[in-house]
Symmetry: C2
Subunit: 359 residues, 2 copies
DNA sequence: GAGCGGGTTTTGAACGTTCAAATCACGCAG
DNA sequence: CTGCGTGATTTGAACGTTCAAAACCCGCTC
């Protein structure tokens, strides 16, 4: 219970003195062990351990002219319709140590992503680079960062700069393909699609997800009708209702997002269709919404995306091997009760139609 | 379009040279302007602006032996049942610049909050302090941080160290009191309560929220029945069903969280009760769930809590005025359609009981 | 016995900032 | 004219680390 252990932390000199070597030898033990005689190595390592020495980030950053940090803006996240951003941030944070960086989130009180925030972070040398997380058409940030020579990588394609390669994204078509195949394997007959209107929220994403469904269902002969709506629950339930008019029990719906899938669940419940047995529903994103509502969903490989993004950033920083291409990562389908034909799960407790005997 | 502007950023010496003064004068202009002659002040400021100079975080941290950063763990958040954590993180991030700090999130691949992670962050002098964000009974972190002399402050009371004061929390009782008063004003008759079982997730939180309901409804003469369930949607719908058996249209339910409120919505829909006109429902937290499902909710004052937590931390760091007491912040009720008696909102499209004429 | 070379270790310098102390300019009293 | 005080500015030093270069040690060769 040494209450003052934060008083003064060990520096490289403390270790050097304790091990009776010079500071540079201690540095070598940590960074270039092969240069150090085995016996010395051990002695120094012992002292490092004993004193709990870790090099100071500030001093290292000073020497190397690197912050060892990556900035990420939280603004856009704030009132986003999806909760994926939070999961992505967590995965980034988990992956960061593997790339010898840490994250520095920042946000503006205003709603717009202000380039000023980015600029000040680099000027103060608080970060070396940025992760952009919801790129959209007309996004000014990639262009600006590029012009300023500030490294960055994005989760999501960079629409306005098609030649840029510093991004990683989910292969939406592969995702909906899996969804359709899963539904086919489970014996659902026709597979409909509920997506976003063209140009929403980022048309390339919407197009890819829809395309995977269209192509795969087409070749499997299960192509059903489609509809589109905003990323909004009430809107989705409405659109889903119209879509269900064209379906029969035993059919299924693939959705562009988990929220839309929830809308389908609502609309189906209104028709007394049992989710699973009567109607298969697949969402997209692997969001909290999906797990909370027990939906089969196409799970984004967020950990892989986080790693891919950080790799692109560190590659730029070290000037190392430039992996030249943007990367599409394949999501995986997570089956849930919403595509289980044999077991009816009570998604929403429905009104009993008439007197009903259950104990 | 100067593509090389990241090449070399201006240092204090660059500014000094440009303004024909010494580096210390530049430093004084920024930190102690009253020591500098007005004419010099202006000249230096001009150059600072022209060169876009900002002091290097690393160098300042080196000199001051401060990281200027606060750590926050994202682990617990990961698969949490609530999405409040994300909003809180955003508010912390927005507030941080006002306290001259930035945040450094960290996470372990493992599920348990490893004290090791905390220790290494301070040893590397990456952070000066920590924000703890979901304290629970039996949490080992506060005790350990205290013993290690590492400053911290928590969102949520510190249960195992009742004498500790470095926390800020929501006044749960005040929140449910507002909920009950709101329902009373809106003309709902009996007000029931759906909460967490004693000891869940942190009993003090659960107890406070329940107590506000009990006391206020008691004194208003609207006290109804209560029930409890886990923080889980299916469980909530089940418990809510049993609760509704004891209620009549015109009554209302106050819930310990937005998720539970959603469960009530489901159970009520199953009875063909219209949310709002037939049953008032109030959630708690102001989470994404509430806004997405148009629920009246008790909004946590996350911005205030973030500021309070950071203030406590910076007070500890500067050794300044120790605000000695933990702080309970009053939430505000955000009315939504779920407590609107006059307008029926289609929460869930319900099956038409029989042929029904609407255009 | 001086010189060489490779392995190991140490010394000097620098990264950018700010505190503490020294220096400078200047007006004014003795 | 000298000395003093005050306000403005500059110089030296230090924070902790790592690169570059110098120094050291030791066995070996000529």
């Amino acid at each position: 219970m040494s209450r003052a252990s934060a008083a003064r932390r060990a520096t490289i000199n403390d270790v050097a003195q304790a091990a009776a070597v010079s500071r540079q030898t201690v540095s070598n033990v940590l960074n270039r062990p092969h240069l150090v005689r085995a016996q010395t190595l051990e002695r120094v390592r012992l002292e490092v351990e004993r004193l709990g020495y870790r090099p100071s980030q500030a001093a290292q950053g000073m020497r190397s002219q690197r912050a060892g940090a990556v900035g990420i803006e939280l603004n856009a996240v704030h009132r986003g319709a999806s909760d994926v951003a939070q999961l992505f941030l967590t995965e980034l944070t988990v992956a960061a140590p593997r790339f010898d960086v840490h994250l520095v989130p920042f946000a503006d009180a205003g709603t717009f992503p202000a380039v000023d925030g980015y600029r000040d972070m680099v000027r103060r040398r608080l970060v070396d680079a940025f992760v952009l997380s919801d790129t959209h058409v007309g996004d000014t940030r990639p262009g600006w960062l590029l012009d300023s020579g500030i490294p960055f990588a994005a989760f999501g394609r960079i629409y306005d700069q098609p030649d840029l390669t510093c991004w990683a994204d989910v292969d939406g078509a592969a995702g909906t393909t899996q969804a359709v195949e899963h539904l086919h394997a489970r014996g659902y007959r026709t597979v409909a699609y509920l997506g976003w209107p063209h140009g929403q929220p980022a048309s390339a994403v919407a197009d890819a997800r829809r395309e995977g469904w269209r192509r795969t269902a087409g070749s499997l002969g299960t192509l059903g009708p489609e509809s589109a709506c905003e990323q909004d629950l009430a809107d989705a339930a409405l659109a889903a209702g119209a879509l269900l008019d064209q379906l029969q029990p035993g059919d299924a719906v693939v959705c562009a997002s988990d929220l839309l899938a929830l809308g389908v669940v609502y609309a189906a419940s209104a028709r007394r269709w049992r989710i699973g047995p009567d109607l298969g529903v697949v969402g997209f994103d692997g969001s909290l919404t999906a797990s909370r509502h027990a939906l089969t969903t196409v799970q984004q490989p967020l950990a892989d995306i986080a790693a891919a993004v950080l790799r692109r950033i560190t590659d730029q920083l070290t000037g190392g091997a430039d992996d030249p291409s943007g990367q599409l990562l394949v999501p995986t389908l997570t089956p849930g009760p919403s595509t289980d034909r044999s077991t009816a799960t009570a998604y929403i407790p429905l009104p009993a139609p008439e007197q009903d005997h259950r104990r």
